[in-house]
Every structure is written in C-alpha cells, then in structure tokens.
C-alpha cells in the first residue's frame, strides 16, 4: 500500500546487489575479532587516545570487551560514534592494530541496527554527507559551477592531468574562502604544465566521509565506481589533489576496490607535486614582501597525511624540507610541540560530533600554534576550516593566520621555464 517502501523485485536489481556485495566484501569484514586478535592488552592506545583527554573513551577496554564476546554491548552503547578516528592509537600500538578501521566497520554494523541513528551526531545538519549520498545516486549527474576557475588557467574536460577539486565549491557557501584553496592550487598547476588541466564539470565526491564517518559503504562504492568511470572517460593518467582526505582515499582505499587503480592512475598530493617540481628545478621560491621581518610559521599535520599513510610515504618530510628551505626568503619554520605522527587532531572527523569536546581539542591545538608562530599552514581543507572556526571565536587567537599549503605557496612560488633552467645550469 505504501509506495515508498514498496520495492519491485527484478532481475536487474538482483544483479546489482550481487555486484555490490562483491565490492562490499573487499572493505567490510564482519568478524571484528579477526582484526583484533593480535591485541595483548598493553593499553597504550588508551593512554594516547586524543578524545580520552576530554571525555571518557578507552580503546583498550573496548577491544577487550569485543574480544571477550561483548561485541553487542559495544555496538548497542553507541560509544563508537564518538571516536575521532585520528589513529593516534595505531601510531603507538606495538601490534599495529588499526583501531580507526575497526571503528569504521563497527559503525557499519551499528548503522544496520534501527535505533543506531547517527544523524544527530553529524554536524552541519548532515548536509555534506547528504550531498555525497546524493552524488552516489545512479541517475544523478552533478553539474558543478566552474566560474571560480581563475583567469588564465588553461582547463579542459579531457586530458592527462586531472585536478580533483573535491568539496571546496560546496563548502564555500558556509565556510568563506574555501574556494581560494582550489584557485591557488589550480593556478600553481597551470603555471607548471603546458597542456590543459582537466577540471571535471561532473566530478563526484571521493566518498571519504561516507566511508569513515557515516559508514555508508554502499554509497562509497557507487561513488568510487562513478569516479573511476569518469577518470577513464577523460583519459586521465595523473590525479592531483589538495585535499588530504581525497589523497588518502585515492591512494589507499580505492585500490582495495579496484586492484589496478594505482596502476592506471598516479595520485599526487599538491605537496608531492610541488616537491617533485622543485627537485626538478622547475620552481623557486621568492618572497614578494620587501620587508626584512622574519615570519615565524608552523605546520599542522592532518591525520590523513601522517598517521593514515604507510611508513614509506614521506609526504610529511617532503613538506618540511620545503619549509626549512623557505628560511632563505624570510619564513622561519617552527614545529609545534605535537607534530608529524604525534600531531594533535583538529577535533572532527568526517563531520561527526562537533561539540564542546571537539572544540576543546581545537583550542588545545591553537594554544600550541600560538606558542610558535603567526601563520599556521595545513594541507587539509577541513583542518583549515575547523581551526579557523575556533580562531574566529577567540580574540586570543586572532593573530594566527591559518592557511592551506597552496594558499601559502601561491604567492611565493616562482616558475622557471625549462629552457631557462637549462641555461642557468
């Protein structure tokens, strides 16, 4: 009688469901004990857990309960919606237990229970995760405005190199100047490349937040399929992004679904991209300001570019190498007390739980930043957004300028034409 819940049985749908299950199994292992059995209960995780500094949360106890057969209690208690998924625990775990990944899977199980509605924990009324879900709809084609593309940038809808913009144009409505990250990034890439850079009008979300935050794996899979499809159609071989989350998702999570993803596509974060060009002698740095004042600045490592990458990925060393070099042009790089893998969290993961606890974590982070510099650079749009939100609430922090890596570099980067560099050599 009720058309909303009435689903027509058909062959088509069956087939799709089978395919989806195939993908689902690649990212979802229902047996949590399988993943936890290595744990020998040293409880280091609980000692370093960031959220536990502002509220009661003990990963070791949770693991213990699951291992001893009380998984249902943990699932029903809703406690895992609170996890920051920052993976500070993984960093200190002698057994390399990936707690964030376990929470992710547990959340999927929680969501399957009717009462476990995470909607109230999603900040900004869930609008952004809703948008991601909408983009995952099969029949829905996204049409993004491209009027933000700066003058002089040579872009196209087909080509080798893709600038993957991500959510920035959507954020721009609520978080001022989010687009300036995209503009800065695209400007830099276009200066360095002769060929037009691909910016897709129908780009869809990478699915990061649905994967980690709301555990909507089905939608994540749909998004991943759509993305791969679009990349292939456009002839892409190289993906550049300025977003820590998109980077991690393309680098680590998509290859889990599609074995050949990393063969087909080279994924670069803008840090790596600039680092390589710098090493190739294609870029130099130059301070346009004439003043001789030394500007102290610091760098906030996003979890997705530190703890969430394999040890061999040296992106946080590369960025520091650039920063240390900048001393020559009047920027003095200083580390905050907690940095690299030990970096403090911006307080929110995948739109989950923005509250006074997460605000406290941000507050703590800015106390550290204030102690060392007047500029704080980060390379994750959400970190920038969250930390800026707090900065705006407190007069104490108003002196700190919070910038994205691209926004910081766009003014001081200087492109050297290839033949020019040969001549100089």
């Amino acid at each position: 009688m009720n058309p909303i819940t009435e689903i027509k049985e058909s062959k088509d749908i069956k087939q799709k469901e089978n395919e989806r299950d195939l993908y689902l199994r690649k990212i979802f292992d229902p047996d949590l004990t399988n993943l936890l059995k290595k744990c020998y209960q040293c409880a280091r995780c609980s000692g370093v857990c960031q959220i536990s500094k502002v509220q009661k949360f003990t990963p070791s106890r949770i693991i213990q309960m699951i291992l001893e057969g009380f998984e249902d209690e943990i699932i029903n208690s809703r406690v895992l919606w609170d996890c920051l998924m920052c993976n500070s625990c993984l960093q200190h775990c002698p057994k390399d237990i990936n707690f964030a990944d376990i929470v992710r899977i547990a959340r999927y199980k929680m969501k399957l229970k009717d009462i476990q509605n995470p909607n109230r924990s999603i900040a900004h009324k869930g609008i952004y995760s809703l948008m991601s879900e909408m983009m995952a709809q099969e029949n829905l084609t996204v049409e993004r405005p491209l009027d933000w593309i700066p003058n002089g940038c040579n872009t196209s809808d087909k080509g080798n190199i893709l600038y993957y913009v991500g959510c920035l144009p959507f954020f721009n409505y609520e978080f001022q100047d989010s687009l300036s990250i995209a503009k800065s990034t695209l400007k830099i890439i276009c200066q360095l490349e002769k060929e037009p850079i691909v910016v897709l009008k129908d780009e869809v979300c990478c699915g990061h937040d649905l994967y980690w935050g709301q555990a909507k794996f089905e939608s994540f899979i749909e998004l991943a399929k759509k993305n791969v499809n679009r990349f292939e159609n456009a002839g892409i071989t190289k993906i550049i992004t300025a977003c820590a989350e998109c980077y991690r998702t393309f680098k680590i999570d998509y290859p889990k679904l599609f074995e050949d993803f990393d063969v087909k596509f080279e994924v670069n974060h803008i840090i790596e991209y600039i680092y390589d060009k710098w090493k190739q002698g294609r870029v130099q740095f130059d301070n346009p300001n004439e003043s001789n004042d030394i500007i102290p600045f610091t760098y906030h490592d996003p979890c997705r570019l530190s703890r969430f990458l394999p040890k061999h990925n040296k992106i946080n060393e590369k960025v520091r190498e650039i920063f240390r070099y900048l001393k020559k042009i009047g920027f003095n790089f200083k580390e905050m007390e907690h940095n690299k893998e030990n970096s403090y969290c911006c307080g929110v993961n995948s739109w989950m739980n923005c509250n006074e606890k997460s605000k406290a974590l941000r507050y703590k982070r800015l106390l550290e930043a204030k102690a060392v510099g007047t500029k704080m650079i980060t390379s994750c749009p959400k970190c920038r957004m969250h930390l800026t939100c707090l900065r705006n609430d407190y007069d104490d922090f108003s002196s700190i300028d919070i910038l994205d890596f691209s926004e910081f570099l766009v003014d001081i980067i200087k492109v050297i034409e290839p033949n020019q560099s040969i001549e100089e050599k």
């Binding site: 819940t5 500094k53 509605n117 009324k125 006074e356 106390l367």
Partner: protein
C-alpha cells in the same frame, strides 16, 4: 458605588476586536456587541492590505480566533443597543439580540444546512456580486462560526431542520433582550462606504462597468465572486484598461463631503497593484488630485506602483463618464498637461468611494447621548482623541475620523488605555480563574493513548469512513481506547472525554477533527481538568487535510486519515509532560522620552498606580511640542503642555530624570534593568522595571537648501510660528512664500513628514488673521490635509492663500539679487513663474535622531526601518509593539505624526504595557526551545536568526585534564521564546530541541508514516 469591571465594546470590526482583546487581556470582562452575524468588519472583506500587500483575512483570522476563544470576551452577534443609563463606572445597557432562528450554542458550523438549502439569497459580504444560501455563515472564517437564517428569504421548508445533526435549528426562536452592567463603553461602529448613486455624472448603477472600490476589492479576492479572476460585470471579460477615480464622496463640498477620507489614495494604489499582479495585461490608471501617501512607508509604495507595476497617475478629477452602448466600454474625458481635452476609453471604471459616517451613527448618538461633529462622525477633541462628549464612553477607529487599519488599531488600544484609567480599581473583579486539580505524574507509566475521532456532522464523516478509522486505530501500539463522536468539540463530548480518561487510565489523548489553531486549546483544557498535563495532547486535522482536500476520493481520504493517525499515535507515545514556568514581574515602567507622548504614557500608567521612571535627554520636559503654539484646529498647545508637565511633576509615582542618558539595558519582559546617568553631574542609577515604552520622538530637519541660515528672511515653519505667536514681525510684510517638502520625499529622506502641510496652512491662516492683506503663496507637491484637516485647506483657499504645485524633478529655485529674494517655480500646467517675496518659510520635515535611535535600538535589540524610525512588530496589526516582548512604541519615534495621533498611540502603548504590569506573574509556554549545552559550540547562529531576542550567548568555563577553556554557550530565555523553531533549524549541531517537536517525536512520526500499515 463600586465600579463595574466590565466593558461593552460596540462594533466587531478590527477596532472593536483590538479594544476587546486589550481590555480582556488586562482583566476586564468584555461584551463585544456586533450588528451582523460575525466579527471582522470591513477588513475581512479586503483582499490585501497596503503597504505590505499582506492578505487581509490571513492576518485578521488569528485575531478573530483569539477574540472568539478569549475567556474574558463574550461576543453578542446580531445585536443592537437600545438604551443606556447610569454614570461612568456603572452603566446599565439594554441590547436586543435578534434571532438567528437557530440555537447559537448548539450550532457547530458544520455547514450541512447550507449545502442542502434550496433557496438563494444575495451575498452581502461579496457586495451583492454573488449568491449564497438562505441559511448561511457570513464568510468561511467567521467568528463565532454559527449559521443564521435569512428571515426574508427562508420559505420554511424544514430541510435544514431535518438535516441538522446538532438539532440547532428552531424557526420559532425570538429576539432576546439583554441587560448588561458595565463600567465603560467603547464605540467602534466604523464607517459606511459612500454610495455614489447620487453622482449621476459617474453613472454608477446605470453603467454596468462602473463599480465601487469595495466591489472591486471583492472581485480581487480569492474568496470573491470569481475566485480572484478579474472579470467585469457587463460581459465577464477581463478589463484590460481600468480607470480608478479618486475622491468619490470625499473632498466634495457640493455633496457636503468636504473632508478627505484619508485611505482612498492608498487603497486605490493597492487595488491597482494587485490587479496588475493578478493579471499582467491589465493597465491601471488612477485619476487623482493630490496623492495623499502620508503614512509610514506609504510614499515608497506609491513609487513602487509607478516604477515596478507601471501604474499611471493622472492629476485630474473626472467630471463625466459615457458608456459606449455596444461594447459597454466607458469614455472618460480629461484635460492633459498642455491643456488639451482628450477622450480615453476604459473597459472598467472603479470609483474610489470615501468613508461616510455609519448610517446608524445618528440613532446611536441619540441613544447614548453623545455629540457628533459637523460631518456626522463622533465628536472628539485634539487632546483627548478617544473620548466622546459623554464621560465613560470612548470611541475608536473610523467612527471618530476616517482612518486606515494601523491607526484604527492604535486608537483601539488607546481607548482601552483610557478605560484602564477609569476602571483600574475594578480590574480582575469579574473574571474568574478556574480551579484545577493537581497534575498527575505519568512519567513512569507506559503510554496509554485514547483517541477521539470526530464526524463533524458530515463534514468529515460524509467523506472519511470514521468507524473504520476507529477500528484501525484500536490496532495501533499503545492505543487502549478509541471512539468516534458526532462533534468532538461539543460540551457533552468534553464531559465524555474526561470520563473516558478516568475510566481507562488514559495518559495521552488524541483528537482527530479540525484544525488545532481553533480547537487545540479547548481539548488541552479538557484533559487538564482531569489532571493530565496539557502537552500530553495531540491533535490530527482530518478535516482540512483529508475530507476537504480529498472530497471526491473517500477511500483515499480514509486511508490518509489512517496514515495521519498512525503518525500521531507514534508521536503521542513519545510525548512528555512539559512544565510552564512562572516569572515574577516588576510592576514598574520605564518611559524613554519626555515629550507629549512619553508624558501621556507615563501619566496613564501612574494613574493606575504603577511607578514610572521617565527619562528625558534634555533639561526640560515637552519635547518638540515646546515649539508649537496652536494646532491646526486652534487648540492651545502651550497651555496643554503646561498642565501636562504640572501633572507629571506633581505625581508621586512618576520619577523624572532630566539630562538623562541611557548607558545600558539588560533583562527581559517583566524584569528589565536599565543603567542611566542623569542630572548636571551625571549621577548614575540602576532602574528596575517590567516594561519599556519608547517615546523618543523626532526632530525638525535643519535645511541645507535655500540659503537657510545665511539670510534672516529665510526661516523654517517653527521659527515662523514663533514669530507669529510671540511678535508682530509679520505685520509689515507684503508677501510670503512657503516651500513644502524641504527635507521630505527626496532621496535623503524618502518619506512624507505628514505634519508639514497642516503646519503651513495653520501658519498661513494665522498670518492672514493678523494681516488680511498679506500675500501667501504655498509651493507644494501634494497637499496632504487628510481627514478633517481638509477643512482648513478649504479655509486657506477661501482666504486667498495661493497654492502652486511643483514637481519633484523641478523644485523651486531661489535667487538673491541685490538683496531681493526671487523664487522661480515651475508649475506643470502653467510653466515657469517668478515671485518676489519678503519672507521665505521652509516647511521642513521631521527626521529621526539617527545616532540616538541606532544606539537605543542596539541596547533594546529592536529594529529600525530604512528611515531610522523604530520598526514595529507588524505594520498593520501590531503598530505599538515590538517583536521583543515587553517593549512598546509611541509617538514620532514610530513615524512622524501630530499631537492628537501621538496622544492616542501613547495611551495605546500604556494599554499594552499594563497587561504586563497588572499581572503578578507571567507564565511561559512549555513549548519552547532548549539548548543541550554539552553539544553547543557557541557559534551564535541561533542568536542571529531569533526574531524575538530570546537567545543570548553566555560565557562558561570548561576544565579538562590539563587545561581550561572559556566557551560561549547559547541560552534560550523561556520567557521570550515563542517556540517557533527557527533556531532549531539553524543550529548546525542539532543541539537545540524544540519541546513537543523534538527529534525523537518527529522521527517517530516519519517512521510511522514509512512503515506499511
């Protein structure tokens, strides 16, 4: 003899409604006598209202409902006054209530009788443009919603009697004689539209396509004869060209209507605009003399009509209309700017008829022994605008002078304010409070839901299969009882509901019937009477949403009723009792501004025994009135002011602070605290008070134009007035030029200052009185002597004052050559004219003190309009209040106005304020927003969107393991919260919960909808 705490209000239009609500809210028993079968008056007939284009019935209907269900108001429809005896404080009034031929108590307004009635009568509400059954209700939103039988048309066939399930119809019911004991009487009988039949040259009644403006208003209305389509009477086609003729029955000495009806310029523009909005092909043309857009934001409305809607204004009155026999189109002749006479054909002509005294005014005046003025309106005085010639009988609205709705509402409150002075000792004597049993604690009990489903005669039952729905509801979880009633709202059903609650131990109650807007409070009161918290009630509207919209689809209507009930049951299971808080009230008031307005309001409140703090920024009281000697009507302002100041300063309850400055205001309704410094030494004091009245006034514009300040022969009207009344300076003068609209109606001050035309005419007349040979020329754009002020415009013309019109684009030029003043003015008809006056008087406008108003508005957290005057809660129906409770507005702080109007608004503000001051405690609603503090990050977006200033950010400290953090937390003040839910929708963290509409409750409803039945 003790005074009677009851008031009779005669007339149930917007004036009578407002006066009744104000009086009933401040503790008097009110009898509202209405001559027709429903309250609502002319406003209920209007399609839209200017200048906001609000739908008239949409904003009026809530007031009708409020009046209808007010426990202190008794509405006596179909009644007329017979006799009055006694003195102020204790009148005895005889009324006749004519029979409706049915029992008002029994009729539920279901409408079955009208559907079956075989006889048609003329629909007077639709201005005779359509028909209606002989048994009918005046209009669908009528209050009280009872039917009545048209005695002249009814053939007594008995069908209605047979079909009426409530057994209400009784052909033999006789007229009733009612005797009332009241302390005061308020007259609000309104006006009649002028009948243009005697103006044979316009052909009304002869030419089919000549109609009156009120008829056109009904044609525009969606509930009118053509459902909002604009069709002309002769052939039902759309009239492409419509001419509107101003001043029909106004400004017409010959027909003894030499006053201005005040509202026609504006309502005609509105009708033209709305006609254009309805059908874009219509080309409206307005024939007018002056455009009298003198009210707040009116000129902007006229500009919009011209610029955005292309309404054409032609400054000519039309002398005759000829009909083209075949097409029934109409030929209108008029003179163009260059003197040519042209003929233009229109498809429809609308006569903007003026207001004339209510036809019953004479008879009523005799019965009540009150005087009427020369035009047949109620006689009042400038300084007592709502008092009739008989003490204890008050007047408001258009029975006193023609006026628009906001001014009517202001006067209605003013009348209530003046009744307060007379009767305050009898307050709360005749209103009774119900004793209620203690509330039962149901918090530990599982939900036990009782459901009562209404047939509403056949209104619901004729479409929805009600017994079937009852059986279905019984199967739903937590429902322990369900039944159906013929009329769930009837008195015997209330008793039945209470019995069923007790018998079945019900702790949640659902009624499925009509709209919660009218009936929810009734059922809430019912369940409260047996000890259930009133928020344990849920109402489902299966009339409007099922049987009405799915009238021809009974199965679907029944299915939808089930769906809605399933949702409601799911929500009811989640309902929790809510507590209403009581907040104490400081019974003192703060009045800001010591001009005539502020002093009037202060005296009104003090006369009722309330302590008042009156703060004035200058070193003396009186405000702008200190510069005014006489009014246009020749009342002595200085004498009045002297007495007023004496009364203020001798009143023990009024504390005057002169040279005062407000440093800060905190608190909320009932509990404000204001820090002021005052006196020569700037002494500082904190004042505690329960209400605030803003009466900060306006100031005279200091012109930059016309060499003002550089030549002594160029002065403002204020200086001129002083010279006229205190010196003989003008005796030697030969010629004076007055220039109107200096500092008004221009780009900097795009509004009319309302008083300058009268000022100029007043001073011109005085000058002529002193020196009859003096030549006075007034250069004007429109002469805006609205209402009875028109009389003095005529006087001035009679005394040979010369009026020359100029247009905004070509203002008069001043040249000084060899010390000789020369004015060059361009008249649209005559061209350039030169005048050599001895004196130039600039009619300067009133402007808001911008800086002071901005500072005060910030402290009060109330808005200003574009012109920096204070902005009221609603321009039409709440002209005295702010959206923030407990703060009221009067006088020129609201917009430019004259003394009479300021006094009225001040008494009105006092009437609003006394509702708070006279209550010991205020009860907050249980239905408010609450912040879950833990999740609040203090972003402040809720503060920004709250219209009622109910939310503030409070700094708190949070301590964590190794650091502490200051953090802002949002707090909703339940005393100010209206439960509108905007903050909850805005909160990015979903951490604001609207009680009774919580996340779980709404989620339960949606889940219930999605679950298959």
């Amino acid at each position: 003899m003790a005074k009677v705490g009851a008031v009779l209000v005669i007339g149930g239009g917007i004036a009578g409604i407002q006066a009744s609500i104000d009086l009933a809210d401040s503790g008097y028993k009110v009898y509202l006598a209405e001559s027709t079968t429903s309250i609502g008056g002319v406003m209920s007939q209007l399609d839209k209202t200017f200048p906001t284009n609000d739908c008239a019935i949409c904003i009026l209907a809530p007031k009708l409902v409020q009046t209808g269900r007010h426990e202190n108001i008794e509405i006596l429809i179909n009644s007329s006054i017979e006799k009055i005896e006694g003195a102020p404080g204790h009148f005895k009034v005889d009324l006749t209530q004519r029979t409706l031929r049915l029992d008002q108590e029994k009729c539920t307004g279901c409408g079955l009788c009208a559907q079956q009635c075989p006889i048609e009568a003329i629909d007077l509400f639709n201005e005779k443009l359509s028909n209606i059954a002989a048994i009918s209700v005046k209009f669908p939103q009528a209050v009280p919603l009872v039917f009545s039988i048209n005695k002249d048309k009814c053939i007594g066939c008995g069908i209605c009697k047979g079909i009426c399930k409530a057994k209400a119809i009784d052909y033999d019911l006789q007229d009733k004689l009612i005797t009332l004991d009241v302390g005061a009487v308020v007259l609000a009988i309104g006006f009649d539209e002028y009948d243009p039949t005697p103006l044979t040259e316009l052909g009304y009644g002869k030419h089919l396509n000549v109609i009156t403006s009120i008829e056109f208003e009904r044609i525009l209305s969606a509930s009118g004869p053509h459902s909002g389509l604009i069709l002309r009477p002769s052939d039902g086609t759309i009239p492409k060209k419509i001419a509107f003729l101003h001043c029909v029955g106004s400004r017409d000495r010959k027909h003894r209507k030499d006053y201005c009806s005040s509202v026609c310029c504006m309502y005609t523009t509105k009708e033209a605009v709305i006609a254009k909005e309805h059908m874009n092909i219509i080309e409206p043309t307005i024939f007018t003399m002056d455009i009298r857009a003198y009210g707040k934001d009116f000129d902007k409305y006229i500009d919009r009509a011209k610029d955005e809607y292309g309404v054409r204004y032609i400054r000519r009155r039309i002398s005759s209309i000829k009909e083209i026999p075949d097409s029934k189109d109409l030929i209108v002749c008029y003179e163009t700017k260059n003197g040519k006479i042209i003929k233009e054909i229109f498809n429809l002509v609308v006569l903007s008829v003026g207001m004339e005294p209510n036809q019953k005014a004479n008879e009523l005046a005799q019965k009540l022994d009150i005087q009427l003025n020369e035009y047949g309106f109620c006689k009042t005085c400038t300084f007592s605008p709502v008092e009739t010639s008989r003490s204890g009988i008050y007047v408001c609205g258009s029975f006193a002078t023609p006026k628009d709705i906001p001014e009517t509402v202001i006067e209605a409150s003013a009348a209530a304010g003046c009744v307060n002075i007379l009767l305050s000792e009898a307050r709360n004597k005749l209103v009774t409070k119900k004793e209620l049993p203690e509330e039962l604690d149901v918090s530990d009990q599982p939900p036990r839901i009782g459901v009562f489903i209404c047939h509403c005669g056949i209104n619901i039952g004729g479409v929805v299969d009600v017994p079937n729905v009852v059986e279905y509801v019984k199967t739903l979880p937590n429902v322990v009882y369900a039944e159906h009633n013929l009329y769930t709202c009837s008195a015997d059903t209330q008793t039945n509901i209470k019995e069923k609650i007790k018998k079945n131990n019900l702790n949640r109650v659902i009624v499925a019937s009509c709209t919660p807007r009218t009936h929810e409070p009734l059922f809430q009161a019912t369940i409260r009477e047996v000890g259930l918290n009133k928020y344990l009630f849920e109402m489902v509207n299966i009339r409007d949403q099922c049987s009405w919209v799915h009238m021809h689809e009974p199965e679907k209507a029944t299915a939808k009723s089930k769906d809605l009930l399933r949702m409601s049951v799911a929500k009811a299971s989640q309902l929790i009792p809510l507590q209403e808080q009581e907040i104490s009230v400081i019974n003192k008031g703060l009045v800001i501004g010591g001009g005539v307005s502020g002093m009037t309001a202060a005296l009104n409140l003090a006369s009722q025994g309330y302590e008042i703090f009156l703060v004035e920024k200058e070193d003396s009281l009186g405000g702008i009135a200190k510069n005014i000697y006489r009014t246009l009507e020749n009342d002595d302002v200085q004498e009045y002011l002297k007495i007023l100041i004496k009364n203020i300063e001798s009143n023990q309850l009024i504390h005057v602070f002169k040279n005062a400055q407000i440093n800060g205001i905190s608190g909320y309704i009932g509990n404000f605290s204001t820090n002021i410094s005052y006196g020569n030494n700037g002494k500082i004091i904190d004042l505690e008070h329960g209400i605030i009245i803003v009466a900060t006034g306006a100031k005279e514009y200091q012109p930059k134009e016309y060499h003002f300040g550089k030549d002594q022969r160029i002065i403002t009207q204020t200086q001129f007035e002083k010279d006229l009344f205190t010196s003989d300076k003008i005796k030697g003068l030969k010629s004076i030029v007055m220039i109107q609209c200096v500092g008004s109606r221009n780009d900097d001050f795009p509004y009319c200052s309302r008083v300058c035309c009268s000022e100029a005419i007043k001073n011109a007349l005085k000058a002529k009185e002193i020196n009859p040979n003096i030549e006075i020329i007034i250069l004007y754009r429109d002469i805006r002597t609205y209402g009875f002020k028109e009389k003095y415009y005529n006087f001035a013309r009679d005394k040979k004052v010369i009026f020359i019109r100029y247009e905004e684009v070509e203002p008069p030029e001043l040249k000084i050559k060899n010390k000789e003043l020369k004015i060059i003015v361009t008249n649209p008809d005559l061209g350039k004219l030169e005048i050599n006056p001895d004196l130039i008087v600039l009619s300067t406008g009133l402007v808001a003190p911008i800086k002071e108003n901005e500072e005060l508005a910030k402290m009060l957290k109330v808005p200003l309009n574009e012109d920096k005057f204070f902005l009221e809660a609603h321009v039409k129906l709440r002209p005295i209040d702010f959206a923030t409770d407990g703060i009221y507005l009067c006088g020129c702080a609201h917009s430019p106005k004259d003394i009479r109007e300021s006094i009225a608004q001040s008494n009105g503000a006092a009437a609003q304020a006394v509702k708070i001051l006279s209550s010991e405690k205020l009860v907050t609603s249980g239905l408010v927003a609450v912040v879950i503090e833990e999740n609040c990050i203090g972003c402040g977006s809720c503060v920004e969107v709250c219209q009622f200033n109910a939310i503030e950010l409070i700094e708190k400290e949070r301590a964590f393991e190794d650091f502490t953090m200051p953090i802002m937390k949002s707090y909703v003040n339940p005393a100010l919260c209206k439960g509108c839910g905007t903050c909850g929708a805005q909160c990015p963290n979903s951490t604001i919960v609207i009680k009774h509409f919580g996340f779980e409750q709404i989620h339960a409803m949606i889940s219930a909808l999605l679950i298959q039945s």
